[in-house]
């Protein structure tokens, strides 16, 4: 057991996970943040993706103790007001998902990617999402959701620049 302190979704959290406990299990079991899903436990499917210090990370391959001192964002932290962020709204509008199990991983992966590639085209988005597996949708609706979010972000950025607003729901 090791005492760790980290920031999760903007709040300081502490815990004493076993050294071998994955970040995914720590989030789910110790902190009851069950929005992060575990799909393969060997780093291929991407369902457990969270954002650690600005980077998309497979939380099944990272130990909780490795995240000590880090800033972690999970699906629960994307829209703290209980609503939907721009990406989540665009995915709802695009009928992006079906069963929803892979959803948190895709949303976090796409959030991190759009943060650094706001002008990404379809092929770039497909490549960025190719480390996440969805069994239900055939991906097109997910890609469309990310494209729509990127477009709205660009339009929103223009509007915000005019209004001087600093709100951006696609953090990371």
């Amino acid at each position: 057991m090791a005492d760790i302190t980290l920031r999760i979704n903007g709040a300081t959290r502490t815990g004493s996970p076993e050294a071998r406990k994955t970040l995914a299990d720590f989030l789910r079991d110790d902190l009851e943040l069950t929005g992060t899903h575990v799909g393969c436990e060997h780093g291929v499917c991407g369902a457990c993706t969270v954002i650690v210090d600005g980077r998309a990370v497979r939380s099944c391959l990272m130990l909780a103790v490795q995240a000590a001192g880090s800033e972690v964002t999970t699906i629960e932290g994307l829209a703290p007001d209980g609503g939907l962020g721009t990406l989540q709204q665009a995915m709802w509008d695009s009928h992006s998902f079906q069963c929803g199990f892979c959803t948190p991983g895709f949303v976090m992966q796409a959030t991190a990617f759009l943060g650094s590639h706001p002008d990404a085209d379809e092929q770039q988005i497909r490549e960025a999402l190719s480390g996440n597996i969805c069994r239900c949708t055939g991906y097109q609706s997910i890609v469309d959701g990310v494209l729509l979010a990127a477009q709205r972000n660009r339009q929103g950025a223009t509007v915000k620049a005019e209004r001087g607003s600093d709100h951006d729901s696609n953090r990371g």
């Binding site: 899903h37 060997h42 369902a47 699906i75 209980g82 069963c99 929803g100 949303v107 239900c136």
Partner: protein, 782 residues
């Protein structure tokens, strides 16, 4: 036609009511359940394909701090009741029934077979305990191939059967099979194999079982396609009354046929919870899912096709063997469905169908999206191979053979009427959407430059639910029930036995009810996932669009009539003069008379009108499928095959599909694309691989390759105008069609691309290495 009262939502791509929770991490999947005092289970699994279990030493595991119990096969056998698989029993299976225990006692029958369960304070500790369980095995020869299983000398997996036959060979003939073959211009003999692959939902199997000793009730939080089938399965094995089992389910992370009833592991967890008096959770990891949850297909077909020189497919004689794996269930029942469906939408006049199911030391055959799909693969491959032999165009040979839509309808030689099928229209539509002559020119130009493009089409029909059967609805897949109630807050509550796991029922059923009853979409609540309060039902077989859509429509109509009868007393008007729109009841022509349906429900609950007035604003509705009908369509793929690397790229994919009247086009298109993606994966990537010794070789996602966003193209979908058969319910199922027809579509396209090499394809799995082999086999000197 009786129209839906108001089509405000039905037919529109209403945004899903499931999505806000799913998109924010607020979904509740079975692994999210956490109960006070909950323990965690992990299974000790066999590393051997076939072996006697000589001893199981649990002492070291039991001594590990944090381990609460270690239960062996013998322990579980003493706590449970033997018996057949619940789903097999419900389906009326009367064939060979192997006897086996929940966990292995005398022997193990596949790699991954559960031998013992360790129950501990955490999953980590439970897995530590598994490492300490010592099992001594005595290796037996593994029965890995169907050919060996058919050999009477193969060691029987089940002592009570004496051989490895799950489904004894049976033969049925429809039409004059021998005469048709004898008289045909040509008889073409061929063998087609379909490989083993599997469901792989992103959430594996899992459950939390919680036994209340005081009440004697076991509550099972399950990931299941039917809370009631799970309840029956658990009650059967625990030897308890069904009403002592309550099954709850929330969000489910996909299934595609895998999660029906209760698996041996889930039943062992239920028994363990009862034994320990504490909640026990088990959620399989991906290794367990790939190794032991179940696999599908692996069928082989010997085919004789009777053909005229003009390209008429006159008759087929098919001998099929299905490998049902180690604990036979669904696999033994699938051949009968294939037999009925093999003629497809065509004028086939004679069919001989012989089938045998074998038992092998591999994972159990489970239902996987369109379990009978190989009938379409076989037929649509045969048509292309015939076209090739005769120099005919693949579309033309289909148009030539498709049965005309007549009144009365053409009967399939296997007995069902081809009522309202639009196969011809779907073929014609595809040729409008894809410019075939232009493609052929481009193909020729590309070949000249050493690029190999190909085009493929395939056509299917699916009984979703199928035309009305003369004998009427029967069995667990027959009649659909629903309870509907107007709540005092004005909510129309639908209680359904459907257990959606991605199908969006909480949206689609609400669309229908909102329109028919007359409330806003947001004012309908779809209640699922509690065996104590929802009627019997099962999500599967692409049946919910018609069956549950239909019972929603009829139920909402009945509830509305009941509400209006009551409101007539309240409003002192004739019920015939009352309307419900936008959540208000009002007298026709007098909008000022409107009162909210919530107020009507509250006044009904107050009981002020006495016993003579029916104030119970609830109905129990049933629906038998009405006139039913077929879903179907034609898909077309254009592929680019790199003959140096063997990599196949799908350049374009077009689907002309008919699933009747659309409830929610975005949901329908999601189902089609998802099914096509699984079909593409099946052909280009996925295979559940076993070594000759029965070792399992695809237990991770590094070995079992799933399609990604870079493998699946945009899929263009065209909805065909259906031929309505029923007076008001013409929604038809669409969940399985993509998976049924995509594999032959892709394989037909690949064969077309490789035609300059003389390649003929008689199999379904075509990863790059196999593409290169096929080219080399057809061109030994190349």
């Amino acid at each position: 036609m009786t129209a839906i009262a108001a089509e405000r939502y039905t037919g529109a791509s209403i945004k899903r009511s499931e999505d806000p929770r799913i998109l924010t991490g607020a979904g509740r999947y079975v692994d999210d359940i956490k109960l006070p005092g909950m323990l965690h289970a992990a299974f000790v699994r066999s590393p051997m394909a076939h072996a006697q279990v000589l001893s199981v030493d649990i002492s070291a595991a039991q001594a590990l701090p944090g381990v609460v119990a270690v239960l062996t096969g013998a322990d579980l056998e003493a706590m449970t009741v033997p018996g057949p698989d619940a789903l097999m029993a419900l389906m009326g299976w009367a064939g060979p029934t192997p006897e086996f225990t929940l966990l292995a006692t005398d022997k193990v029958r596949l790699v991954g077979d559960p031998v013992a369960v360790v129950i501990a304070e955490s999953r980590y500790l439970a897995e530590d305990g598994c490492e300490l369980v010592e099992v001594e095995y005595d290796d037996l020869p593994a029965v890995v191939s169907a050919a060996f299983a058919l050999d009477p000398g193969s060691p029987p997996l089940f002592a009570n059967l004496g051989d490895n036959i799950a489904l004894p060979c049976s033969r049925h003939e429809f039409g004059d099979v021998a005469g048709t073959l004898a008289a045909a211009d040509r008889v073409i003999d061929l063998h087609i194999d379909v490989h083993r692959h599997q469901n792989v939902p992103m959430e594996g199997r899992g459950c939390v079982a919680s036994y209340d000793a005081g009440l004697g009730v076991l509550t099972m939080y399950a990931a299941t396609q039917s809370v009631h089938v799970t309840r029956i399965a658990v009650a059967m094995r625990l030897g308890t009354e069904p009403d002592k089992v309550r099954v709850l389910a929330g969000d489910i992370g996909g299934s595609f046929g895998l999660k029906i009833g209760a698996s041996r592991e889930e039943l062992a967890v239920a028994a363990s919870s009862r034994h320990l008096g504490r909640p026990v959770k088990w959620v399989e990891d991906r290794g367990e899912n790939l190794t032991a949850s179940g696999q599908a297909r692996e069928e082989s077909f010997d085919i004789r096709a009777a053909v005229s020189n003009d390209g008429d497919l006159l008759g087929l004689d098919v001998k099929m063997v299905v490998d049902t794996g180690a604990y036979p269930g669904m696999g033994a029942m699938v051949p009968a469905i294939m037999e009925g469906m093999l003629p497809g939408p065509y004028k086939l006049a004679a069919l001989g169908f012989e089938s045998t199911g074998v038992i092998t030391n591999k994972a159990t055959y489970v239902a996987y999206r369109g379990p009978w799909a190989s009938e379409t693969f076989v037929r649509e491959r045969v048509l292309n191979l015939i076209a090739k032999d005769l120099g005919l165009d693949p579309v033309d040979i289909r148009l030539r053979n498709v049965a005309p839509r007549t009144d009365p309808p053409t009967m399939m030689i296997t007995g069902r009427p081809l009522a309202g099928t639009t196969s011809r229209e779907s073929l014609e539509r595809v040729t409008q959407l894809v410019d075939f002559p232009a493609f052929r020119r481009r193909q020729a130009e590309a070949r000249a430059q050493g690029r190999y493009l190909g085009i493929g089409v395939a056509t299917f029909i699916e009984a979703a639910p199928g035309p009305r059967a003369p004998e009427g609805a029967s069995g667990p897949m027959g009649m659909e029930s629903m309870r509907l109630r107007l709540e005092e807050d004005g909510i129309v509550a639908l209680f359904t036995g459907q257990m959606p796991h991605g199908q969006s029922h909480q949206t689609t059923l609400a669309q229908i009810a909102a329109d028919e009853f007359g409330v806003p979409f947001e004012q309908v609540r779809v209640v699922i996932g509690d065996s104590d309060i929802v009627p019997f039902g099962l999500t599967g077989g692409s049946r919910s669009a018609t069956m549950t859509g239909g019972v929603t429509l009829h139920g909402a109509r009945q509830l509305k009539a009941k509400v209006l009868d009551f409101a007539a007393h309240l409003m002192e008007a004739s019920a015939q003069d009352l309307l419900i729109t936008d959540g208000n009841v009002w007298v026709r022509g007098d909008p000022a008379s409107a009162i909210a349906v919530s107020e009507v429900a509250q006044r009904a609950a107050a009981g002020q009108f006495g016993a003579g007035v029916d104030a119970e604003l609830e109905v129990e509705a049933t629906f038998d499928g009405g006139e039913g009908g077929w879903s179907g369509g034609t898909h077309c793929a254009i592929v680019d095959v790199d003959t140096e690397t063997g990599i196949v790229t799908i350049e374009r994919y077009v689907a002309a599909e008919d699933c009747g009247k659309l409830i929610n086009p975005a949901v329908v298109e999601g189902q089609i694309r998802g099914g096509v993606a699984q079909g593409i994966g099946a052909v280009l990537l996925e295979r559940s691989a076993y070594g000759e010794d029965g070792s399992f070789q695809s237990a991770t996602f590094m070995d079992y390759l799933m399609p990604t966003a870079c493998d699946i193209p945009r899929i263009e979908i065209e909805h065909l105008q259906t031929v309505p058969l029923d007076s008001d319910v013409n929604f038809r199922g669409v969940g399985e069609g993509g998976m049924i027809v995509a594999p032959p579509t892709i394989v037909n396209a690949i064969e077309d691309a490789l035609s300059p090499f003389g390649v003929r394809i008689y199999e379904q799995h075509l990863p790059p290495a196999r593409i290169l082999e096929l080219i080399a086999e057809a061109n030994p000197g190349r």
